[in-house]
Amino acid sequence: MIRYLGRRAAHGLLILFGVSILLFLLFQAAPGDFLSEAKLNSQISPETMAYLRAQYGLDQSLPVRYWQWAKSSVRGDFGYSFAYNVPAASLLWPRARNTLLLSVPALIISWLIAVPLGVLVAGWKGKWADRIFSGGTSALLALPDVLIALLALLIALKTGMFPVGGMTSVNSQNQGWWAGLRDLGWHMALPVAALVVGSLAIILRHVRNSLGEVLESSYMRAAEGHGLPRFKLLFRYALPAAANPLISLFGLSVAVLLSVSLLIEVVMSWPGIGPLLLEAILARDLFLVIGAVMLSTVFLIAGNLLGDVLLYAFDPRIRRQT
């Protein structure tokens, strides 16, 4: 087990390394840099420009810059933000926390809804409820995430029951921790709901399909023939047998949620990685972009690693192979 996880973690590190190199190369290939706009300003003298370039390290060659960045990453700074003039990490950590604040509850809620619902729907296969369900998930799948976020904003606006964007109310700071927490939850409700709606359909469909296959198998028929109660058949026999592809999907769903989350954060002005990344890309704030993308990659790898651990715990056949 330890060795299996160690190997997986080592793979993760390799991926991170590859992603960082790729990011540097891509940035190099993209036209312009942080100072491109300043260059157009005739009031800044060429000497000042050269000084600034040297200060930001933009005059160095790519391998040197990568090496500098790698050294600062080991120190935990992940480079310097040009725009904010602080280490990128100090900007990223609070934003990452905010993004996790949205995506972790959304992940948990969507799986908590999708698994029981998917199992039940698989049990109804061929009946009218199943058809309604298929139509519903198709519609959900077809709905663009931006639209979901905008709809959520519309609801907030029309009902007035939810805040329109943001993470905290203006005066929440001085009302004690309980009020603060309630305020936070109130602000989280809509973005989390939008995320759940955005990712639910895919998971639901997978649960239903993989359950559907298992329900046709001879061991399920045998178990039914032994007189096991229906609830037990569905949840204690079919679900563990169908869990394998679903657990792999769990890792993937982390990726889906993250990318949807970036978008929803921007639309609903949630101070997560999404708006920061967008801003940094527009400003060509090199290290901030790299840091944000690397952070997303870390989340992704962590999600897949979690999936691997679950797979190991759930399937005795995989335990044997490793």
Partner: protein
Amino acid sequence: MTSGDLGLSKPEPLLRASALSVDYDAAGGDVVRALRNLDLEIADGESVGVLGESGSGKSSLALALLRLLPRNARVVSGRIEYRGRSLAEFSAEELRQMRGGEVALISQEPALALNPVLPLRRQLADVLLAHHKLDRGAVSSRCHEMLREVGFPDPERIMRAYPHELSGGQRQRVAIAQALICRPRLLIADEPLSALDAATQSEILELLQRLKRDLRLAMLFITHNAGTLAALADNIIVMREGEVAARGSIGKLQSSADEYVQGILFPEKSLAGEPRASGPAADETPLLEVRALSKKFVQQRMLSRRKFVVQSLVGIDLSLRRGSTVAMLGRSGSGKSTLARCLAGFETPDSGEILLQGKPEEAKKAGIRRPVQMIFQDAATSINPRFTARQVIAEPLEIAKWKTDAERTVRALALMEEVGLDPGWALRLAGEFSGGQRQRLALARTLVAEPDLLIMDEALSGLDMPVQAQMVRLLIHLQSRHGLTYLYISHDLNFISLFAQEVIVMEAGRIVERTTPARLAGSTNPATRELVEASERLHAPGVEAAV
């Protein structure tokens, strides 16, 4: 109704089906008739055998009796009564209580009847808990008792295991334990032996006989092998295309004049008039020579650095002459399949030589000819079910870019004809063919490569006896026509005397005996004796061709 219907004095039967008809809705709006007007009665403690080819509706009967038919099946007419009450009146909960509690089912394939991801403890205990309220200790001791009853000396080890950690025979015994743990009155056993090797088959058969006697269990035993029924069934129903073709005791059926009944009871008889295989051409370099072949597998357990070395083949010497048929016998796990896989090039041996026509390794030939071909046990899994018959056969040609598409089709159709398949079926999907037809398809596919040696790894074991007989006839015919050499691997002795000139018995990775079919019965080797005796037990009523 049976002839013994004497009205008032007769007690209520345990289970009665009258005029039962079942249809399946097949793809494309076709309706397949699985059962037609079937009448059946099982009294308390009585065993009824159901005999028939695959596709005769046997399995549908088993499922219909428990109302477990798949969604695309419909009971068109007739009624099923359990203790005088129609199953149609049973509520969902009553039906559940009946399944497993009163009427238990052993399904066809033991490998597939157990949930792969749950420990057997749970799978066994849950059946008990579904019908009785018991505390943990009582459940555990009842499970232990049941597992001992089906012949596990160490129940705790089995309870902790997962299905993939057991052999096929062990799994089947667990499935029997599951079925019997609630002490049902009736056991429906659907081909419980067909996937097991002969020695394991006779163990399970003995177990069922003992349980039937000790528990006064009524039984509906479904099989395609008449031999197993002689020992077990009081009454036999022979089924053909969903209808009852004949019924009665085994003695009565044996004297029946019906050709179909005779074909099922004595599949070997149908081969009587066939010319025997001509035998090998003399004094020539052997087609295949194997010298001191060894192969081992290394297994490693979880959380352990200890490695288990499984010596699969030890110093095998073997020589096959062109045009001969060699039968390789042995229990499952004796290394037969590993040897076959080494010969076919799927495994690389650790040491030793394989010489083909005196040369170490056939230099890669141009075109489509491959000198060694292999047919596997289960065509259902070795052929892509979504390919059409033409695609299955022509695929090797396509890979080799052999001639044009039209010429490939002509070749495929000719081969279909040669293996006895209607070329008009060329566009049917492989999955729509029956087991025997799929095996013919597999045979046609191997013939594309114009092989010299055909290795058949249990290629007939999964088929009904009459279908096996037809396949043997076809193989003998093809051998004389193309001068093929056969290596026929099997765990039972069916047809061997009609088919093979030489018999090799394997045990624990070694060849323990080389003999001829005629001398097999007189062998003193313990491994051979075990196979011969198991075979005799299974084919008691004269279904005896092997020895």
